[in-house]
Amino acid sequence: MKISVQRQDFDAGAEIRALSRDPKVGAVASFVGVVREVAMMLEHYPGMTEREIGRIVEEAGTRWKVMDCTVIHRHGELKPTDQIVLVAVASAHRGDAFAACEFIMDYLKTRAPFWKKERTALGARWVEARASDDAAAERWQPRIAEPKKVG
């Protein structure tokens, strides 16, 4: 498992290849987040960020058969088309790899302590958290079973 919070860019291809070396790996699912349209500064909480990502990855490992995983998240100044985040999950089969990758990404957006400040033409502004991101993470919660009817 590799977790890195860093200023510098990353090579997604090299990271994915590094996850494919074990001959038991049959699938690597990956996601790359990219800065869209507006330049931004990404602030984070050093120490807690790495811990929180570690916990999310650990939880993914309890739900799916994850053989290895790499999460890289950048911070600092970023401009449109820059890569922000990479989540790559290695597994024996694609089902586990796809699901774990999406789960990690959804939770990362709602739990890892990062904050985006957009540099717009009208000045800098902090991005507001979105309810749709919370909803995306919540759909992974186990559904509560319908209570059994008595009699």
């Binding site: 807690m48 739990r111 302590p113 507001e128």
Partner: protein, 85 residues
């Protein structure tokens, strides 16, 4: 008891401070009590930490509920809902 405070992102800017060490008075033993204790400073503090404002809190780098107990030496952080990814 003494605790270390940290503030991040918009909250840090609004308060004009990234962190401080403070001595807690008797009776301030939870995250929620600390939040209202700080809000009593008035001005930007009252505004930023008012009830109803979405503020997330962590203790020793773990997300914390308002009822979480504080111990001497804890690192307590206040920040807005996160927007990474």
């Amino acid at each position: 008891m003494k605790v270390k405070l940290l503030f991040f992102a918009g909250l840090r800017e609004q308060l004009g401070v990234a962190g401080e060490d403070i001595e807690l008075p008797e009776g301030v033993g939870t995250v929620a009590a600390l939040r209202s204790h700080l809000a009593k400073r008035g001005g930007a503090w009252r505004e930023a930490l008012a009830e109803g404002r979405l503020v997330r809190m962590s203790v020793n780098q773990d997300m914390a509920n308002p009822s979480a107990a504080l111990r001497a030496g804890d690192e307590v952080a206040f920040f807005p809902p996160v927007t990474g990814g």
